[in-house]
Symmetry: C2
């Protein structure tokens, strides 16, 4: 059966030993109050509350799903109560602005809690994830009056946010949207009319109001993405005193029937002369929305991580009990009819693959979180700018690589069960279905890759990548610590490979714009491998330090960390070389086939 305890020891290791979070937080004025004790309390209570409230609703929520009738959406049994418990516990405003009752905690810490949310109940997790992103956007771009009205309620989970971008004819290409916003005479507001699809939490029964952030076009909007504006459109109108008023022209038209995340209400939303308020500047809606989208992209990456972790733990629980055949070296449990399957090298290979993805991803998510914190809290403007550049560069990788690997992890974990993995009762197949969406929504992983090679690489002529390489190289130092030569050498080698491929690609892209698109996904994956090789170097160094300092007490944890890292080096990292070769094959093989030859028939 599904089994999960938040990996607190590993989270502490990442925070305290790999990234020295205590020192980091003490060094920035905005985070000095975040002591290691406070962080520990949040991790422990977060682990408790998600396990107690959300995990028991995961399989039942999948079986029941959301239901739609007469414009109303009913979430699965227990969701509403669990939401209330978490919201009342203060878990919805962790990173929020303290001026409006947020807790202003560092992202490096809250990513760990997000992982617990997704691991225990990915469908449920999406409601607070969207809400947090929406609140972040309002905090950045809304007027003080709006913030005062909305943010305390959103941090309290009394109202929840949603993000309304996609329309039936356009998902990726938002320049094509048809939703219109017309100024209302004698009012500062707008009347919004149009239909949106795939709106997570667009309508449901858990809170009194839903705060829709809606992309629409003003009457004078230029064509394409430069003509999009962003509006706050509440489900129920809010009067000047902040009290709930009458229903706004916002109607749910139905739910999608999906492969997974069935407890998440994915809505068709119709806006019919709904009253909205402009957020940010006219025609700058897409840029404004990116405040939320970048937040969600990291969050969705963590969906991959959380599902990979719960899939690992559940599969290992199965593996411990399941007896099949004998170890290749002879029986290890001669008193039993067969040995536990973990004696088999190939079962270990699968388990180690999953674990190495998870632990690499956990460190990487924390690293991106730490850079978000620097960008927000660091007193030195140059440090903030540097951190922002790294975040910009790494966000598409965090979204796509963590979700691709998270999906791989759930598939590999499912394989470990044999036939049981395909049967619903064990829960493994749900993790695969729930993880699959993370590669698609919030910008498909192909779109993330285009963002990486386009905006984050080509547009600045590789400056962000060069900065990343400098950071890694400084971290590596010139001399490998004794005993860690393999981690150090692998990271150096992979970084050099990335730099070579980057230079090649920048050069090639001058010749043809098709080269960027042709390389994009393989380049993102290559970058992901390099980033994880760096994370494994950092973790190996911290594990070695722990081993040197701990004596027998923590020994098994640190030795395991090094062993998992060496599995990564030996049996996963070699794939980067293939990616480099695939990239260097260039666009020509992709473009050679005429379009009509893609449809062979008869």
């Amino acid at each position: 059966m599904a089994s999960y305890q938040a990996p607190l020891r590993d989270m502490r290791f990442v925070l305290n030993e790999v990234f020295k979070a205590g020192e980091e937080w003490a060094s920035m004025p905005g985070t000095t109050e975040v002591t290691p004790d406070l962080a520990e309390a949040i991790l422990e209570e977060g682990a408790r509350v998600t396990r107690a409230e959300l995990f028991p609703l995961n399989q039942s929520g999948d079986a029941e799903g959301c239901h739609f009738a007469a414009g109303k959406v009913t979430t699965p049994k227990g969701f509403k109560e669990a939401l209330r418990t978490l919201a009342d516990g203060g878990w919805f405003g962790l990173g929020g602005n303290p001026e409006f009752d947020g807790q202003d905690l560092p992202k490096m810490l809250t990513v760990a809690f997000e992982e617990m949310l997704y691991a225990t109940n990915a469908s449920f997790a999406l409601y607070p994830a969207l809400n947090t992103g929406a609140a972040l956007l309002l905090d950045h771009h809304a007027t003080d009056a709006i913030k005062r009205t909305y943010l305390p309620r959103m941090y309290a989970g009394d109202w929840l946010g949603s993000m309304c971008l996609t329309e039936p004819h356009c998902g990726t290409d938002l320049g094509l949207i048809k939703t219109r916003a017309v100024p209302i005479d004698g009012d500062s507001g707008y009347a919004i009319t149009g239909s949106k699809i795939w709106i997570t939490g667009g309508e449901h029964d858990m809170v009194d109001n839903i705060v829709h952030l809606v992309l629409a076009k003003l009457p004078d909007a230029p064509a394409g993405t430069r003509g999009i504006s962003l509006f706050l459109v509440p489900k129920r109108r809010v009067d000047a005193s902040g009290e709930l008023g009458e229903a706004n022209g916002v109607v749910c038209g139905g739910l999608e029937h999906k492969m997974g995340i069935k407890g998440s209400a994915t809505c068709v939303m119709h806006f019919e002369q709904a009253q909205g308020v402009l957020i940010g500047e006219p025609h700058q809606g897409l840029a404004t929305m990116f405040t939320m989208m970048n937040y969600e992209r990291l969050s969705i990456g963590i969906q991959g991580l959380g599902l990979g972790e719960v899939a690992y733990q559940s599969a290992l629980d199965f593996a411990r009990e399941r007896l099949q055949s004998r170890a290749p070296q002879g029986a290890v449990a001669p008193d039993k009819p067969a040995d536990p399957i973990l004696v088999h090298p190939d079962v270990r290979r699968m388990a180690l693959n999953v674990r190495a993805w998870n632990e690499g991803g956990r460190a990487f998510a924390a690293y991106v979180g730490s850079q978000l914190d620097r960008a927000k809290f660091h007193p030195d403007a140059e440090m903030r700018t540097d951190a922002e550049a790294l975040v910009a560069l790494l966000t598409p990788i965090a979204k796509a690589f963590l979700t691709d690997r998270g999906f791989d992890a759930t598939v590999e974990a499912q394989q470990l069960y044999g036939g049981n993995g395909y049967c619903v009762e064990w829960g493994a197949e749900q993790y695969v279905r729930d993880a699959r969406i993370a590669m698609i929504y919030e910008g498909t992983n192909g779109i993330q890759a285009m963002d990486l090679v386009g905006r984050k690489l080509y547009k600045n002529a590789g400056a962000h990548v060069a900065r990343f390489a400098a950071v890694v190289r400084e971290d590596l130092g010139s001399q490998a610590p004794v005993g860690l030569e393999d981690f150090h050498g692998a990271c150096q080698r992979e970084l050099a490979r990335l730099e070579e491929v980057t230079a090649w690609l920048l050069d090639r892209a001058q010749q043809s714009p098709e080269e960027l698109g042709a390389a994009a996904v393989d380049y993102l994956n290559l970058f992901g491998y390099v980033a994880y090789a760096w994370m494994w170097w950092k973790m190996a160094r911290a594990a070695q330090a722990g081993l040197d300092a701990s004596g027998a007490a923590g020994e098994s944890f640190y030795r395991a960390k090094l062993a998992v890292g060496r599995h990564f080096l030996a049996r996963m990292l070699p794939r980067s070389e293939a990616l480099a070769r695939q990239i260097e094959a260039g666009a020509e093989p992709l473009m050679a086939l005429p379009e009509d030859a893609f449809y062979p028939r008869g």
Copy 2:
């Protein structure tokens, strides 16, 4: 929406141009009657009947599923009628023994029909697939009296076969089974008692009788897999004249709830003093069962292929209509609001990946089919033995590599839809769910890999692999035809890599039995890449010949074939190098972690 037409042009290409099926069949006494015209008629009518009868039931069958009540299983609406139509059309006895009304057609031809079955309705396809395997087993191992009674009914689809191996505590390790067979006093039969799980088509409402092939232990059975015997246990007893008698002690205890193939009844079966007949020798049941299992393994490989093909065609249909953004070189459809997504290099990459898997797999399945035909029909005993060895070697690869790549294909095709791919109505997500099981059942792909490195490689000290290499090398010749140097060179290089890795592994395995298990899955995948590189060489050569001979008529087909092949060489085949490096990392990284360290908690 889902879209499929059997890829007849490509099937003809594989049969007639790549493998010269007409010459092959004309050269063997048992197949001389199979003319190209007959083959063509079977392909065309097979394409028609599967598309008309099975494809419309695919999504409805998934939505409805099978239902269990009071010991009875109801299959989805339309399945029973479709089964009757196909059976009456003679489609269930295609490869059967002509002495008992089978049609004795070559496997190289029938694999194409199997692909159509799986592509149009994977759930449905399993009923005839199990039946054909069961009939094959009886034809090899049963007495003439039993064959006379059962085979004509099974070929006619009046009765269907099932395969009863797994028990709750053992799937892979069949030595642990507890089902018992006790001789019945004064009778040649046995009373079978025990429970089996995951029995595809174990009970359903489509036919009058179900022919269970059941593994059980005789009272004097030695422990382990050497103590298993095989019994024919009909759902309803059959009297001496072959007429249906009373119910046997065979009871369905329920259905599994599964991730996919929901139209396939996966049953818990209880045998309660059920009367059975021993098939084959006592205690040789597993060897006897392998006649069926080897058949099913190739068949399940084709499940991966069929689902990859229908996923490709459906995704391309979507891609043709979907307009998003502009081509990197500038608008190609300036009159439309955006360009069709196939202008984007990364969309092409996904489509070409899927197509290259499918076309490589189609050729490989035909090749294995051709060797099965030689093993059965060739007049020269040495040729038969040679072919048998190749079939033994390639069967685990056909099962595992085709299903792994089939799953990859369905996932990549789903990605091509963006968010629509996750919504049930489009059908793409069903293909992913239906393909996932193929990596698990019929021996997990890990077990296939163990079979490959154990029985098929190590046990004969690499003789089968050496034979395979000799066949490939002879086919390649020393000189590459002008214009095909890339295909020729890649195949030579990959074959050399496989030989090197094989020699390394045979040597390593002497030192520790763990090395085989550690290498198994990566070795199977490496072998798969090499086999596909060979298939692409063969296809490229045939395409070039077609191009030279055809003039303008077939030009676009052949040019497309070469382009897809070059995509395979440039952007997929590089992965083989990573696999080789991963294998050569050896068992140590997998075995380093102590068992208890796999369970990090708290």
